[in-house]
């Protein structure tokens, strides 16, 4: 186990869960706001920012990557960056990468 690192307490885990729930609620609210007021590309940008925030929070605090050795962070981030770069190039080449809300 990795208890030698100072992981969050159960109370902190609950607070993180509340934050994740609030972020999800904002995402859904944004979806409906966009249906009524057509936010354009701002909608896509905000939704991607919110999803990224949730992603990072889960990885950092629930998967404890924040408290792990740098080796693990490098492997995980490396895989993510590799995949993201590869498919960004592929989708751009195929003309798919456009802002959906615009």
């Amino acid at each position: 186990m990795t208890t030698e690192h100072h992981h969050p307490t159960p109370a902190q885990y609950w607070k993180i869960a509340v934050l994740l729930g609030v972020l999800t609620a904002i995402e859904v609210a944004l979806y409906y706001v966009n249906l009524s007021y057509d936010l354009g590309s701002l909608n896509a940008v905000l939704l991607i920012v919110l999803a990224t925030l949730k992603f990072v929070i889960v990885v950092a605090f629930y998967m404890h990557l924040r408290y792990e050795k740098a080796t693990l962070s490098k492997f995980f981030t490396g895989g993510f960056v590799l995949a993201a770069s590869l498919y960004t190039v592929v989708l751009a080449a195929l003309g798919v990468l456009v802002i959906r809300g615009s």
Binding site: Y13, A17, L47, A51, V58, Y87, V96, R100
Partner: protein, 207 residues
């Protein structure tokens, strides 16, 4: 010549020169490689999801956002129960570990039930089948593979729960098993965070 067996002490995790337990390193590498797997499926969906000219209905025309939002919330909360199970084990609280493990498996099962319901609605009521058009195929393959990952996670969680009921089955000494399953479970959750945003909230039907 004398053979000398080097065995790690039973209460000492096996380390390599990286300073990280090999099993944990292996799991992180596996999860890292999964990005390529899901990236391909998400890209495939983006490629076909709003390409005009296909016969039949498009997935983005029939999404039930309130329903999927609740499913997403359920899966998100299963990450909380998973990390609470891990935390309980590190404190030696076996009852708490068992309770939170079971809660995680239950929440995962609820999510899977929601996905089965969604697929049934799409197929029966909206007549959108796997072979209706490439957009539908891409949707079912992506969310179906994610669902398969969730199902495997539920099986692993229930296995751990069963093991934990045996005397000494899931002691703190063997906590790495729970930690590895937990990493897998959280990964399934973060993939859904991406799918929920990209597939459900950002998709628009073809103009």
């Amino acid at each position: 010549m004398t053979d000398v067996l080097h065995e790690a002490p039973p209460d000492h995790p096996e380390h390599e020169s990286t300073g990280v337990d090999n099993r944990k390193l292996g799991m992180w590498l596996f999860l890292s490689s999964e990005f390529l797997f899901f990236g391909a499926l998400i890209s495939n969906y983006l490629l076909y999801s709003n390409r005009p000219g296909f016969a039949g209905i498009y997935p983005s025309e029939i999404y039930d956002i309130p329903f999927t939002s609740v499913s997403s919330f359920v899966l998100l909360m299963s990450s909380l129960t998973m990390v609470l199970a891990h935390n309980a084990l590190t404190r030696g609280d076996m009852n708490g570990t068992r309770t939170w493990l079971f809660a995680t498996a239950a929440l995962g099962s609820v999510f899977l039930g929601g996905q089965v319901f969604e697929f049934t609605e799409f197929i029966v009521n909206s007549n959108m089948k796997l072979t209706t058009n490439p957009a539908a195929s891409a949707f079912y393959v992506l969310t179906g593979f994610h669902g398969t990952h969730v199902a495997l996670g539920v099986i692993m969680l229930l296995s751990l729960w069963g093991i934990s009921r045996r005397p000494g089955g899931l002691s703190e000494k063997h906590g790495m098993n729970l930690e590895l399953v937990g990493l897998y479970w959280h990964f399934v959750d973060i993939i859904w965070i991406v799918i929920f945003t990209v597939v459900y909230l950002l998709s628009v039907p073809p103009a």
